[in-house]
């Protein structure tokens, strides 16, 4: 297992380098411009100066290599410095700066991580927690009314666009009923029970929208996986041993069914870090997803490049995690 993991990590290096190049080309060649959002009253000479100050005049290759060096050498050094108070990074080690805010992209990401993790992460966890029992019961009682309703709800979950459900929830619960805030307060800090309650209230709607979507998908996987296992011979063996249905289903079948589902869940984790572009926009959560979309709209190449590359790393990493998990959970699988 260890050698397998190491080998996969080694393969990941060239893959990721190639991905970083592709992302760089895509992002750089995109016809957006960091000065596009400036008022038209700013004349074009000034815009040209601004672009020059951002280093846009350098050749593509130079910019790519600089970014690589910044990402893989300078940034880690700076982060270590920040974390441990060392001074490994010298002054000429320019960090990756966002063109829009002129601040280090890493800082922006660190700043946005909490709300994204809170909202998207919670919704993912809740989604999974809802999905599993629904999937289990749907499979066990295949074609029962519960299964039918569960199927309908989960399908509805991913067939309605989140920009629609989000606005709908806001109109109902913020405007009409006034129960929850329509704008997420990213500065809110949980210090006591009351403030925790405030946090819960502002999270309910975005979490609900996303959790429904996540639960919909995972419950389908869970159901399919349970169905696969319910007809296996070992289930008959378990019944022949006189075990109760609960033990048969929740111990024997579930344990086997969880193997593929756990990997699916692991594969979904990068999307948590990626944020939810539309939902964040609708509820003003201003997390990673909103950072990305604003950066794209603002032609902020370093931010887009860095963010998308981090997503790529996470995707590759969690692909590996999923495979390793599979190996750990299923004693039959041995990687070498």
């Amino acid at each position: 297992m260890l050698t397998y993991t190491i080998r996969r990590l080694l393969i990941a290096i060239p893959t990721l380098l190639f991905i970083s190049l592709i992302i760089f080309l895509v992002v750089t060649l995109a016809p957006s411009d960091p000065t596009a959002n400036l008022p038209l009253s700013i004349p074009s000479e000034v815009r040209a100066q601004i672009r020059e100050s951002l280093g846009l005049n350098e050749p593509l290759l130079v910019r790519y290599l600089l970014w690589l060096r910044q990402f893989f050498v300078y940034e880690p050094l700076h982060i270590l410095d920040q974390a441990f108070g060392w001074s490994l990074a010298t002054d000429d080690m320019q960090r990756i700066l966002s063109w829009q805010t002129r601040s280090p992209v890493a800082d922006l990401i660190v700043q946005r991580m909490p709300q994204t993790l809170w909202v998207v992460g919670t919704s993912y966890i809740i989604g999974v927690l809802i999905a599993l029992p629904i999937g289990i019961v749907s499979a066990y009682r295949q074609y029962s009314w519960f299964d039918q309703v569960g199927t309908f709800v989960s399908m509805a979950g991913f067939s309605v666009p989140t920009f629609f459900t989000g606005v709908l929830l806001i109109v109902i619960f913020s405007v009409q009923l006034g129960w929850f805030p329509s704008i997420y307060d990213t500065t809110h800090e949980v210090t006591d029970l009351a403030s925790f309650w405030v946090q819960v209230k502002q999270m309910i709607m975005p979490v609900a929208v996303l959790a429904l979507y996540n639960a919909a998908q995972i419950s389908r996987f869970m159901r399919a996986s349970m169905l696969d296992n319910l007809n296996q011979d070992y289930v008959r063996t378990a019944r022949a041993k006189g075990l109760s249905e609960q033990v048969v289903v929740l111990v024997h079948v579930l344990r086997n069914s969880m193997i593929p589902v756990v990997t699916v869940i692991a594969l979904g984790v990068p999307t948590v870090f990626g944020g939810a572009i539309i939902t964040e926009q609708v509820f003003k959560v201003n997390g990673i997803g909103q950072l990305l979309i604003i950066a794209i709209q603002g032609g902020d190449v370093p931010t887009v490049q860095t963010l998308t590359f981090i997503f790529a790393v996470l995707i590759v990493l969690f692909n590996l995690v999923a495979d390793v998990l599979y190996g750990l959970l299923d004693p039959r699988i041995r990687y070498d």
Binding site: D33, L38, P39, R47, L97, S98, T101, Q111, Q281, N286
Partner: protein
């Protein structure tokens, strides 16, 4: 309007300012929402309105404009003029006097050195200062004493109020930014996010593109202001949500620039939690007519002066296009109270406003048809007019935006009624307004027959704005498509007027020249102005003191805001 007059007006407004004279910080927190989130607090590093206005809570200029476009002294004692001797007769230098006793938020005194530094900062090599145009022609800034600043220009400046005036060019603290000149500017993240200022508030926490927390400046010059102890400045989302949060759910006190359909806005107001405020500036939604040929077959030469447009060079066609448009209806549908039909590309200030073209306000489809008939454009079997094998077929582009798309649909229908085939295209704003020479979709490249967007100018002086239509401003591949004459309109007579204005100092004469230029553009129908767009913002019923200002930052008088119980 004479400047002296303007001064009086400003004083009058200030006198009417809120009577709730409580002590500083007694009114708790005010929540402001901007649906575009500020990405920096340094206005020199970003020209975006959202950034400028956020920064205006902290940073202040020597003088700024009030809600009527009058200049009012801010950090300066008075507005220097030729009359009061502040501006030299040859119009090459202007002398500002700082108010005595001004302090930065950290308690250190504000001196003329800070003012001079602000100029140095913006003009330093490699800094990419977004406001460097404000400092055009400045050759030197002298600081004879702590409170006096003399700005010297290389040429005669009939309008010397560029540097240090308005939200675009405030004074920054020399001590804080000393190490941030030129290429080092972006590295001073802390300074850029938390600049020391003289304004009523000071930054506690800045989260780029998200939220800003500010608190009252302890060293603000008026000891009773601001009434609010803190400001929460939230950014992001969309105009609908911002309006909703003020007008319907009362989560916020002030929402900026609610570009919404009139009935949507009216519905929100009907909830009764707040009201909208609107004001008009110089922003005009217009259709630009391409005088050059954008057809792709021309390769490199498309949309350049080498290739005149096959039919838009015919004035009859341009005029007919204009006549077919019902500007009243456009306003009604797209802007409601936040817009008014206009026939001028220079709609304000009052003194510059021409009345010569008001005929355009009435839609006249029949006359437009007749005009085209006369010019020899006859309808073909498909209803599209043609002459000598040239069909009146247009590509009409604009940026992606719900109101603009409605306008496109309406105008398309009108134009098709007069026999002009219209194809619509909308382009993402970041691409359309982006200057990327590699993109075919920028408004500057103008690879379309007509395009629509809005433009205005900073402050109240139209000189540089009207200079946009100089022949030499025509974008071309040679200039990397930079240049402001998007229409590719070129007229010697127009160029002469621009040159004349550059050396004319008297306000009335300048106004006449500007009007003449405006009328020239209008009567040649190279620009079809549609709507004079106002600014609509909303505030809650509990927020007092809001005076909407379209000539400067909307938050210009935030120090005077207070809570109505």
């Amino acid at each position: 309007m004479k400047l002296r007059h303007a001064l009086l007006g400003a004083a009058a407004t200030l006198a009417f300012a809120p009577a709730a004279m409580a002590e500083r910080g007694s009114d708790g927190q005010v929540n402001i929402i901007y649906w575009q989130a500020p990405s920096t607090m340094n206005p020199y590093l970003s020209g975006g309105t959202k950034d400028l206005e956020a920064a205006s809570l902290v940073l202040e200029p020597l003088a700024r404009y009030d809600q009527d476009g009058n200049m009012v002294p801010w950090l300066a004692e008075t507005i220097p003029t030729v009359e009061n001797g502040g501006v030299t007769e040859d119009l090459t230098s202007i002398t500002w006097k700082l108010k005595p006793g001004l302090k930065w938020a950290d308690g250190s005194p504000v001196t003329s050195a800070d003012v001079k530094f602000s100029w140095e900062y913006c003009t330093a090599e490699g800094g990419g200062c977004a406001q460097s145009e404000k400092y055009n022609d400045v050759v030197d800034v002298e600081t004879p004493d702590e409170l006096t600043v003399i700005v010297r220009f290389g040429v005669a400046k009939p309008f010397p109020y560029g540097p240090f005036v308005g939200a675009q060019a405030p004074v920054i603290q020399a001590a804080q930014f000393a190490e941030c000149l030129g290429a080092k500017a972006p590295e001073c993240t802390d300074a850029n996010f938390k600049p020391q200022g003289t304004g009523p508030f000071t930054v506690v926490d800045f989260r780029p593109n998200d939220v800003i927390q500010l608190e009252a400046n302890p060293n603000y010059r008026d000891p009773e202001k601001p009434a609010f102890a803190s400001v929460l400045f939230k950014g992001g989302g969309d105009a609908t949500a911002a309006g909703r949060s003020v007008l319907e759910t009362s989560e916020f006190d002030y929402a900026w620039n609610l570009q919404l359909a009139p009935d949507v806005l009216a519905n929100m107001v009907s909830a009764g939690n707040g009201k909208i405020v609107s004001g008009f500036g110089t922003l005009v939604e217009r259709i630009l007519i391409n005088m050059t040929d954008p057809s792709p077959e021309l390769g490199d030469r498309r949309s350049t002066v080498d290739t005149p447009h096959p039919f838009l060079t015919d004035m009859a066609v341009r005029q007919a296009l204009s006549m077919a448009i019902d500007r009243e209806l456009l306003v009604e549908i797209g802007y409601g109270d936040a817009g008014r039909p206009t026939c001028n590309v220079l709609p304000a200030p009052e003194i510059y406003k021409s009345t010569a073209n008001d005929g355009c306000l009435v839609q006249d489809i029949e006359r437009a048809k007749a005009l085209l008939d006369e010019a020899g454009w006859v309808p073909g079997p498909d209803g599209v007019r043609a002459k000598d094998g040239v069909r009146l077929s247009l590509l009409y582009q604009t940026s992606t935006n719900a109101v603009r798309q409605d306008f496109q649909a309406l105008i398309k229908q009108w134009w098709e009624e007069i026999g002009v085939e219209t194809e619509l295209r909308n382009i993402d704003a970041s691409v359309f307004f982006g200057g990327d020479p590699g993109s075919p979709d920028t408004f500057q490249k103008f690879y379309a027959d007509v395009e629509m967007y809005a433009n205005n100018f900073d402050g109240t002086d139209p000189e540089s704005y009207m200079a946009n239509w100089l022949c030499k401003e025509i974008p071309s591949p040679e200039t990397q498509w930079q240049g402001n004459n998007i229409n590719r309109y070129c007229s010697e007579a127009y160029d002469a007027l621009v040159a004349e204005m550059a050396v004319t100092g008297a306000l009335e004469e300048r106004a006449e020249l500007a009007k003449a230029m405006n009328d020239m553009l209008m009567q040649e129908y190279v620009i079809l102005p549609l709507v004079d767009r106002g600014r609509v913002s909303a505030h809650s019923n509990t927020l007092g003191g809001v005076v909407l200002n379209t000539w400067d930052s909307e938050l210009w008088n935030v120090a005077d805001w207070y809570r109505i119980e």
